[in-house]
Each structure stands twice: as C-alpha cells, then as structure tokens.
C-alpha cells in the first residue's frame, strides 16, 4: 500500500511538473497579437501589476460579475491557501514558526473550503443557466475536491490519524527514502484523491491558475495609441496601411 501510494504520488508530481511546464511554455511562446485589455484598464505597467494582484488576491472581476460565485469561490481558494501552507508542517523538520502558527487556523480554513465547494456545487445544480453550461468534468472537479476536504477534515476533527507516521512518510517522500504509510483508510483515500487531482491538473480547467497570469485581457496595458502593439507573426501587418 505504501509503495503503491508513493509511486502514484511521484508519478502525479512528475506529470504535473511536465504537463504544467509544457502549457506555460506554450502560453509564453505563442504571441498575443491583439491589444485587448478589458477596459477600463490601467494605462501603465505598474497599474497592470496592481490589477493582476487584485485579480489574484481578491478575484476582482468575479466580484464585479457575480457576488455569490465570488463569495463561495473566494472562500474555497482562501481556505485552500491556508490549508496548503499548514500542510507544510508535514514536509519540514523543524517546522517553520509561521507554519506552526497556522495550525490552529487550518481547521477553520478546511471548513471554509468545504462551505465554498458546497456553495459552488449547489449553484451548478440549482441555477438553471449555470446547470446548462456545466459539463461532467465541472462536477468531477467539485466532487474530487469535496472528497479531499471531507477525508482531510474527518481526520483533523473526528477520527485522528497517526500524524507522526504521516510526517515520517511525507519526509520520506521529500528525501527519497520511502517510509511506511500508517494503515488508515481515510488517510489512504485522502492521499489517493490528491494524487488524482494533481494528475488531472495539466489536462483540466485547473489550468486557470497559471492561465490567469497569461490572460491578455488582464495583463495588457491600455496604451494602443502611445505604443504600436506589434508582436510575433502579426508584427509586419498593418505597418504600411496603418
């Protein structure tokens, strides 16, 4: 069981790194020949940096578009950030002080993740036009994440697992010295589902994480008159008749 899950985690990590790198490489290499910032857009580089930061931290455009989706989506993502950081305690020895500080918070962060995901799932099921545009993979992602949160929270709140053993297992993965995983069905499920999630990441809409940074409608400066936008294969176009 330990060997199986260790192999699966390594495989998932490898495919994640290769797959996401390939995508990011593609995004970076393909030109954005059109000047298409969603206006009103910043007219300076610094302004764009601020806009992207607001987008990444607060999901600004989603907030403007739909408050309920924003609320549940943001709850989920903010909770996930805290939970991921808190999980660093399993991979570091000694545990960094600020990671240790997060430990008591991670419980509530996990609950926030669950609430956000349930809200988003309810929206997909109950709002007719959102249901209309939902594909099976949209539900798959929500159910996968919900299962990960459910198994994780169960171990955190009710049926505690052998976290000393978990830490030895996790450190073993990092140090390439495989250790036995404590035999616990919930723990196995938790890790198995996470491996699955990481595995599908480069082939799914989860790519919105790196994709956001490359969105030309967000990261472009609104200065088409001040600077001619001329890039890539389209560079020579329109120079003579423009």
């Amino acid at each position: 069981m330990s060997t199986l899950i260790s192999t699966l985690i390594y495989l998932a990590a490898l495919i994640f790194v290769l797959g996401v790198s390939r995508k990011v490489w593609h995004y970076a290499r393909v030109p954005a020949p059109l000047k298409i910032p969603t206006t009103p857009a910043p007219t300076t580089r610094g302004g764009v940096v601020l806009r992207m930061l607001r987008e990444i931290i607060f999901f600004e455009s989603l907030f403007k578009a739909n408050k309920w989706t924003w609320l549940f989506g943001w709850l989920f993502h903010a909770g996930m950030l805290l939970v991921l950081l808190a999980h660093l305690r399993y991979f570091t020895e000694p545990v960094w002080w600020w990671v240790a500080m997060l430990a008591p918070l991670s419980k509530y962060a996990g609950i926030a993740m669950g609430v956000g995901l349930l809200g988003l799932l309810a929206r997909r099921l109950l709002v007719d036009r959102v249901r209309y545009i939902s594909a099976p993979s949209d539900f798959l992602m929500l159910v996968l994440l919900l299962s990960i949160v459910a198994t994780g929270l169960s171990m955190r709140l009710f049926i505690h697992t052998d976290i000393i053993g978990v830490k030895q297992f996790a450190l073993g993965l990092v140090r390439f010295e495989w250790q036995a995983l404590p035999s616990d069905v919930l723990l196995f499920l938790h890790l198995f589902l996470i491996a699955l999630l990481i595995l599908v990441f480069p082939f799914s809409k989860l790519l919105h994480a790196p994709g956001l940074l490359f969105s030309p409608s967000r990261n472009q400066v609104d200065n088409p008159r001040e600077h001619r936008h001329s890039v890539g294969w389209a560079a020579h176009r329109g120079r003579d008749n423009g």
Binding site: P31, T69, I133, S215
Partner: protein, 104 residues
C-alpha cells in the same frame, strides 16, 4: 418634424430579468452568408465542405498556436457562469458563446 414615427419602446425595469434557459430560442438566428464568389476571393470554399468538422478542428488548432489568448481562455475557463450574468453582454442568456474575457 412632420410625420413623427411611432416606436414601441420597451419598458425598462429597475432589476434586469434573466429569462429561463430555453433550448432553441436562438434557432432562427443565422449568419449573413456572403455569395460564393465573394467568399472565394477571401479564401473560403464558398460551400459547406463535407469534412467541415475536421476542417474546423484543424483551424482551431492552428489558431491556438497563433493567439495566446485563445489557448489561455480555452484552457482556463472554469465555467463559473459569471458571463451568463454579465450585464455588459448577457450573451449566454441569448444563446451565444460566452465572452471569455469577462472572467479571464
């Protein structure tokens, strides 16, 4: 200012009403197709080709290699549905493809 024309002006309410999803509401909507000879001069075959699905997919593949935005939006759309609410466009409610830049 003779002959004032009478227009039927729709009444605007305070809150926008989002119509329920109904299949086929835009079925009557068609593109305005140019004459075959005009299409040929801009590089289109003029008539629907038999393997139009393959041609379309191949074209999409070509375009994702030319426009970063298209590839990023196709990969990144989480189908949050915010564009179906977007007052600026409301295009999904009208049965059109969503304007991906609303979320991207």
């Amino acid at each position: 200012m003779a002959d004032k024309k009478k227009f039927e002006v729709p009444v605007a309410h305070d809150l926008l009403e989002t119509p329920d999803v109904a299949e086929g509401v835009m079925a009557h909507s068609q593109p305005y197709i140019a004459k075959p000879e005009i299409q040929q001069t801009v590089g289109f075959p003029g008539e629907l080709v038999d393997n139009w699905q393959e041609v379309a997919v191949a074209k999409l593949g070509e375009l994702t290699g030319k426009y970063r935005g298209l590839q990023v939006y196709l990969d990144s759309c989480v189908k949050c549905g915010a564009c179906t609410d977007s007052r600026a466009t409301g295009s999904v409610a009208q049965g059109l493809p969503p304007p991906l830049h609303v979320c991207g």
